[in-house]
Amino acid sequence: MRIQVFNLATRLKVDSAPDVLLLVSNGNESPSLLSWVAPVLASGRQAIEWFGDLSLFQAKVIRESFRRPFEFTEILRQIFEIGWRSSALIALAGLAVGVVLSIHTRATLERFGAESMIPTALAFALVKETGPLITGLLVSGRVGAGIGAELGGMRVTEQIDALESLAVDSFKYLVFTRVVACAIALPLLTTLMNFTGMLGGFAAESFISNTSFRLYFTHSFSSLAFSDYIPPTLRTVVFGLIIGSTSAFLGYNATGGAEGVGRAATQSVVLSSIFLIVADVWLVEFILFAIPGSI
């Protein structure tokens, strides 16, 4: 048991998450100090425990990928649910992003007389960062909430217990399949986003400058190599793992009836989006380090 002593007079720091915290007072401190120290430490401890549980949950997903049954049929069904059913949203968002990016890029490049660079600049912006990140955020909104709510609903209505009682490993059947499906669907959806983004860019450009389809796409791909496309797109595999595992963790462990299901759905979106953005920054740094010149 970790026992920490915190002197309220000297306000010496304590390590996070002790088992027992002894507050030593000389009677002259502000009473408000006592009221916030303990809750802050308790929250810190809860947060560390939560991250520990999430990490164990993710480790279990990885461990399950080496154990039978591999649930291929259910994974394919989930890819359809997660991937195919998100494709309209991604395609539409891609078109809009392409149009907007094209308009902004033109406004900037016109000042330097570099309008011919618009297709290339747009392609780079989409493939390297905008496409993967926006796809990740959109999927975390649509799919993350869906997984959180679906598994949360199954938990509070005892459907997960029922699955176990029918001799089915509920973690493998419900969690593993969804996480794998997210990891497979994300790169495919990102590619769709990139493509429709370029189509949107072309639509905007052809409206303004009458550029031909062939000329636009020749310019778009002239400077773009596979080494520009592969690392950022593969990055979205990690986004898929984050979205799938975070939302499945929250749903699978939901408690508290309908309110708990709602909380799981909301937290799935919020936390997977935050983790995704943090992971994006870290992965860009990592890819830059691992494959110099690719970003």
């Binding site: 217990d161 029922a162 176990e164 009682s165 029918l166 001799a167």
Partner: protein, 248 residues
């Protein structure tokens, strides 16, 4: 079957946080018999069923199912044992994304190599047995509470289990259907030599189905025996419970 019985609890305790749900309970259910758990709401009856199925683990004590100690088994280790069990949940717990028929067929599709048509026929037969023959393609959300209960029972019976765990089989059912369900449980016990553990508040139903009964109160077994023995229990609460619910 064996001397230890189909199900054996030895000094089992279970708490949820500060709340002690079961305190050092021990009992044995002989193979091929029906054991009824009685008691007030919150006395630990449903938790006992979930412990038998390994859905929750005891804090202390041992649980044996068909001579195998299940206390230390994880979800994967429990799979062969659960294949011999059927569980009707208090809330029915039907999978709401698939039809009633597919709910019943689910375990057969997972654990048998039977052709599709045969699985369909077996599921249809199970639904016929509980009076839901016309509801194969209905979604669970379109059924009433009582119908969902019966569909849950059909699902529990689909793999022809040797142990049936039944939580409140007659809750939400009219007296006639409730009596039909009792008859069905008796038939299963007799024909398949199945072991039944039934949680119920319906005393006529408990009398009809149960060979032995246990009365749980505050996490302890207050009385155990046949219906007659419980009626003459030294505990006033047990006597009153059986008397007050005589009418069902």
């Amino acid at each position: 079957m064996n001397e230890a019985g189909a199900i054996r609890f030895e000094g089992v305790s279970k708490s949820f946080g500060e709340r002690k749900v079961l305190r050092d309970i021990s009992f044995t259910v002989e193979a091929g018999t029906a054991y009824v758990l009685l008691g007030r709401s919150g006395s630990g009856k449903s938790v006992t069923l979930k412990l038998i199925c390994g859905l929750i683990k005891p804090d202390a004590g041992k649980i044996q199912v068909e001579n195998e100690e299940i206390t230390g088994l994880d979800s994967t280790g429990m799979i062969p044992i659960r294949k011999q069990m059927g569980f009707l949940f208090q809330s029915s717990a039907l999978f709401d994304s698939i039809s009633v028929g597919e709910n019943v067929a689910f375990a057969m599709r997972r654990h048998t190599n039977k052709p599709d048509q045969e699985i369909h026929d077996v599921a249809q037969k199970a639904l016929d047995q509980v009076g839901l023959g016309k509801e194969y393609d209905s979604m669970p959300s379109s059924l009433s509470g009582g119908m969902r209960k019966r569909a849950g029972l059909a699902r529990a019976l689909a793999l022809e289990p040797s142990i049936l765990l039944i939580d409140e089989p007659s809750a939400g059912l009219d007296p006639i259907t409730s009596s039909e369900i009792d008859d069905l449980l008796l038939t299963i016990k007799k024909d398949r030599h199945a072991t039944l553990v039934v949680v119920t508040h319906n005393i006529p139903s408990a009398r009809a189905v149960g060979d032995r009964m246990a009365f749980l109160d505050d996490g302890r077994i207050l009385a155990e025996g046949t219906a007659n023995e419980l009626e003459h229990s030294e505990h006033q609460l047990v006597r009153e419970f059986l008397k007050s619910r005589q009418g069902g």
